[in-house]
Subunit: 138 residues, 2 copies
DNA sequence: TCGAACCGTGCCACGGATGTGAAGGTCAAG
DNA sequence: CTTGACCTTCACATCCGTGGCACGGTTCGA
């Protein structure tokens, strides 16, 4: 598969795919004519990268955790794992946990606030009930 | 309290506090001589901001959710909440959920990988079993 | 065979985010 | 007066994601 098709299927652009390659996030092969040659997996991989980026992870980090996530689980390439790699992963694992915890705490705070709002008075009799009584959330 | 003390107590710098102010994250008063005047709450607020930033939230977002989180829960200032604000909060709530979900999924993938590693062969008879048998995480 | 569409490289630049640094002036106190 | 904390403003650095342009090679169909 060539770059254009991958771009279409991942809703990105060739430009961005080359950028990701430069960042070490994907590593396509090359055809004889110099064209990049992508396999099927790339599409999923790119999607995962994008998802992680949207979640706020920097590419640096993604580069490091992706190898352990993307390749098929079956083929156990546990052989080449150095203790350093393990330490790195454990560190990232902890980092992610901290991040998740923080986000969860704050999400819950927002949730609680919203709940309180709804209970305390959806319309303080001010003059409001004029629009459609049902508030379609966006 | 002046900027230097806040900086010390939040482990930041005056520079950064001015920056946060420019971003709308804090809003100190001013003394007659032009010096910024911070109240006690600022310290906690700054800490929370930093935490959220570390968790990967952009300041834009923090600016908007912070007002609902920081001020004391008792004094219910539910009065001035427009429907727009509520919608905004709901949106952010959803966004946070998505983010958390994504991070959780990937953290678990890392966790699973690590577990598999440990089970498959902590040391392929190379020379390892020497450290404390219990792995204190981190 | 010719052109269009595609791919390649390299480079420059923008825009926003999070900061940091430095210059130059003011204020308060020893 | 000198020192240190504070003020403002301009600039710079980095990262991430993009866009653009130039310039050349490849593929494919009319």
């Amino acid at each position: 598969m060539r770059i254009g098709e991958v771009a279409r299927r991942t809703e990105t652009t060739p430009r961005l795919l080359r950028y990701y390659e430069a960042q070490g996030l994907i590593a396509p092969g090359r055809a004889e004519n110099g064209y990049r040659e992508y396999d099927e997996d790339t599409v999923g991989r790119v999607r995962q990268v994008r998802e992680l980026l949207r979640a706020g992870l920097p590419t640096r980090l993604i580069v490091r955790i992706l190898p352990c996530l993307s390749t098929p689980r079956e083929s156990v390439r546990f052989s080449g794992v150095t203790p350093e790699t393990v330490a790195l992963l454990e560190e990232e694992h902890a980092r992610l946990s901290a991040r998740i915890e923080c986000l969860t705490r704050n999400r819950e705070a927002i949730g609680a606030y919203l709940t309180a709002l709804r209970e305390a008075g959806p319309a303080p009799a001010e003059r409001a009930p004029d629009r459609e009584p049902d508030g379609a959330a966006r």
